[in-house]
C-alpha cells in the first residue's frame, strides 16, 4: 500500500472571505515545505440553516493552520473528488486513490445560540474514524473555533498539542512616510486579528508574555532611558516595574509568574557609568535582587522551565556569549564556544534546547543549542536575524529578519526544514510567542 507523496511548494497568501480580518494583518508565505508531511484532505464543512459560506470559511482556516505547521500537506479543494459532510457518505477508496492518509469532514448548523460545529476525522488507510467532536461557536469568534479544531486534529495525528490557538506579540517601528509611532501588537498565531495594545512616540522593546498569557512585560524609551512596564493584555492597564537611572530592559518571567529577571544598569547618580547586570524583581514584594555582578555587559536573561537557573548573555570573554547560573547562586558557566557571538538565548518548552542568535563571519542567524550535548545547529541562511522565540509546543521558532530591505517576521521549524515568511508593512521586530492559552475565549 503506497501513498503517493505530492511534493508541493505552497506559496500561499491567506485572504479569507467573510471572516473578520482586523487592520494590519500579517500575510504568510510558506517558502519551503517538508517532504514527509502528512497528506490530508479537508472537505468544506456543510452549512446547515446557516450563512452558506460559514462552513467553507471554517475549513479554510483549519486547512491554512495545518498547512502552515509544515507537518501536513493539505489537498487543494480543486482536487476533491467527493464532498461528504457526514460519516455515512464517506467512501474511503476515493481518498486512498488520491493518496490521502487522513480525511476531515464536518458541518456547521445554526442554533438559537449561534452555531453547532461537528467534525469527523478519519484514518483513510485503516478506514476508521479517529475522532468525532461537537462544539458550540459564535459568528464573531469563528476563527477561534477553527483554531481549536486545528489543535485537536494536530494533536490526534501528530501526538503533540497544537499551537494554533496561541498569539504572537511584536513591535513595529515607524516607516518612512508613515505615522511616526511605535506600536506593540498582539495577533493570532496565524497573523490575523492583530490589535494594537500600545502606541508610543518612542521605542518599545523586548515584549515578554507572562506564563498565564494575561500580561506583557516590555521596555519603553522615556526621556533618556528605557523603563520596564507590565501591562494587562485584556484591560490595557499598565504600570512601571523598573525605573533605575540607567537602562531597564530584557524582561523574562519566572515559570510561576511571580518574578521578572531583567537587565538593569544601576547608576548611583547620572554621571556614574553604571554597569549592565542581571537582576531579579519580585513582582509582589517589589524586592530587587542582584543576580550577576561583573564589569562586563550582562543582558537577555531567560528562565529555565523548571525554574532552577537562568541563562544570560555576557560579553566578559570579549564578545557576547551565553552563560548559565543556578538561581541558588554559584558558578556562572559559559555554554557557547562556537562562532564569534551568541546572544539572546531562550528556552524550548521542554527545557532541553536554547534558541539563540549565532554570529559567525558577520552573519547573524537563528540557531538551536542542545543543552545536553552542547551541540549548536544553525537553522536559517538569512543574515540579520533577531529575537528567536519558540512556539509553546516547541515545534517552531518565530524570529525577526531582514528581507529585501524590509524588517519582517519569519518562522522556522526546529529541525530547520520548514521555513515561512510572515510579512507586514512597517518594520517588524521582537516577536514573542505566547504560552499555550487555556482561556476558553
Amino acid at each position: 500500500m503506497t501513498t503517493a507523496l505530492f511534493y508541493r511548494f505552497a506559496v500561499m497568501v491567506l485572504m479569507l472571505m467573510g471572516l473578520p480580518a482586523a487592520q494590519a494583518a500579517l500575510t504568510i508565505e510558506i517558502t519551503e515545505g517538508v517532504e514527509g508531511a502528512l497528506p490530508i484532505a479537508i472537505v468544506p464543512f456543510a452549512s446547515e440553516g446557516a450563512d452558506a459560506l460559514v462552513g467553507g470559511d471554517l475549513t479554510t482556516v483549519v486547512a491554512a493552520d495545518l498547512q502552515r505547521s509544515g507537518r501536513f500537506k493539505v489537498l487543494p479543494q480543486t482536487d476533491l473528488v467527493a464532498r461528504p459532510t457526514e460519516p455515512s457518505k464517506v467512501n474511503f477508496q476515493d481518498w486512498r486513490l488520491l493518496g490521502q492518509d487522513n480525511l476531515l469532514i464536518g458541518s456547521v448548523k445554526a442554533t438559537p445560540q449561534g452555531y453547532e460545529v461537528r467534525f469527523f476525522l478519519f484514518d483513510v488507510l485503516k478506514a476508521q474514524q479517529i475522532k468525532a467532536f461537537s462544539l458550540p461557536a459564535q459568528a464573531a469568534t469563528l476563527r477561534v473555533t477553527a483554531h481549536k479544531i486545528s489543535d485537536m486534529v494536530y494533536e490526534a495525528l501528530i501526538g503533540e498539542p497544537g499551537a494554533f490557538s496561541t498569539r504572537v506579540a511584536y513591535v513595529t517601528k515607524p516607516q518612512k512616510g508613515g505615522a511616526s509611532v511605535h506600536t506593540l501588537w498582539i495577533a493570532d498565531a496565524d497573523g490575523y486579528s492583530a490589535r494594537d495594545v500600545l502606541n508610543s512616540p518612542t521605542e518599545i522593546m523586548s515584549p515578554a508574555w507572562s506564563p498565564d498569557g494575561a500580561k506583557l512585560a516590555y521596555a519603553r524609551f522615556e526621556n533618556d532611558h528605557f523603563v520596564l512596564y507590565v501591562q494587562d493584555v485584556a484591560t490595557g492597564t499598565r504600570e512601571i516595574v523598573a525605573n533605575a537611572l540607567g537602562h531597564n530592559g530584557a524582561p523574562a518571567w519566572s515559570p510561576d509568574g511571580s518574578k521578572l529577571a531583567l537587565a538593569m544598569q544601576h547608576k548611583r547618580h547620572p554621571g556614574d557609568p553604571g554597569n549592565f547586570d542581571i537582576y531579579i524583581l519580585d513582582l509582589r514584594s517589589k524586592a530587587l535582587t542582584r543576580f550577576t555582578e561583573h564589569w562586563a555587559v550582562e543582558t537577555h536573561p531567560a528562565w529555565s522551565p523548571d525554574g532552577n537557573y537562568l541563562v544570560f548573555t555576557s560579553d566578559r570573554s570579549g564578545r557576547p556569549q551565553i552563560y548559565r547560573k543556578a538561581l541558588t547562586g554559584g558558578k556562572e558557566e559559559r555554554l557557547t564556544f562556537e562562532g564569534a557571538e551568541n546572544d539572546r538565548a531562550s528556552f524550548s518548552p521542554n527545557g532541553k534546547m536554547l534558541a539563540m542568535i549565532h554570529a559567525n563571519s558577520g552573519e547573524y542567524r537563528v540557531a538551536v543549542f542542545d543543552l545536553e550535548t552542547g551541540q549548536l545547529r544553525v537553522l536559517t541562511d538569512s543574515s540579520l536575524d533577531e529575537s528567536p522565540s519558540f512556539a509553546p509546543n516547541g515545534s517552531m521558532i518565530i524570529y525577526a529578519t531582514t528581507f529585501k530591505n524590509a524588517k519582517i517576521l519569519a518562522a522556522v521549524s526546529v529541525d530547520g526544514r520548514v521555513k515561512q515568511r510572515l510579512s507586514q508593512e512597517g518594520r517588524v521586530l521582537d516577536p514573542a510567542w505566547s504560552p499555550l492559552l487555556r482561556t476558553s475565549q
Partner: protein, 189 residues
Amino acid sequence: MRALKTIALLALPVVLLFGCQSTPEQPAAGKAPELAKPKTEAPATAKPDTGAGAGAATAIDASKGAKADAGATDKSAAPGALKNTIYFDFDRFDIKPEFREAVLAHAAFLTKNPNATVKIEGHCDERGTREYNIALGDRRATAVRQLLKLQGVADKQIATISFGEERPVALGHDEDSWWQNRRAVFAYR
C-alpha cells in the same frame, strides 16, 4: 596665554582636517576585523553635520511626549567649528586617534563655559541584538564622557544617553550605512 589660545582656536580647523583623514585600521587581537574601507570623507568637511543634525532631528520627532530637552539640539549654542559626531569601529567603543582632537575641542569649549552642558548620544549599527546595543551605545557615550572629564570638564556638564541601534542615520544593510551609525553625537541644549 590669550594669544596662545587664539592661535590654538584658529589652528583647530586645520587640526580637524588632518585629524579626519583616513588611517588604516589595525583591528585589535580578538576583535572582528573591520571591512577595509578607507573613509575618505571627513565628516566635518565633505559630509556636513546634517548627519548628526538629522539624527538629532529624528530624535526630536520621535520623542514627542518625552521631556522637551531629551533630543533638543540647539547647535547655535556650540561653536560652529566643532565637529558634533565621531565614529567607532564595529563592536568597539574606544575613541579612535583621528577623533580625539574633536573631543578635545568640545572639552575646551566646555571648560571655558562651565555653565554649558552637553548630552552625548551613543549609537550602534543594526548588527547584534537591540538590548546588547543599548549597552554598546552607552559605552561609546561613556568613553567620550571619560575623555572630557580627563580634560577637566565637570561631571555635571555631561549627560549621556544611549540609543543603541534605534536611531540610525543611514538605513542600508551594509558597511556603507553601518559605519555612519556607529557614532557618538554631541548635542548641546
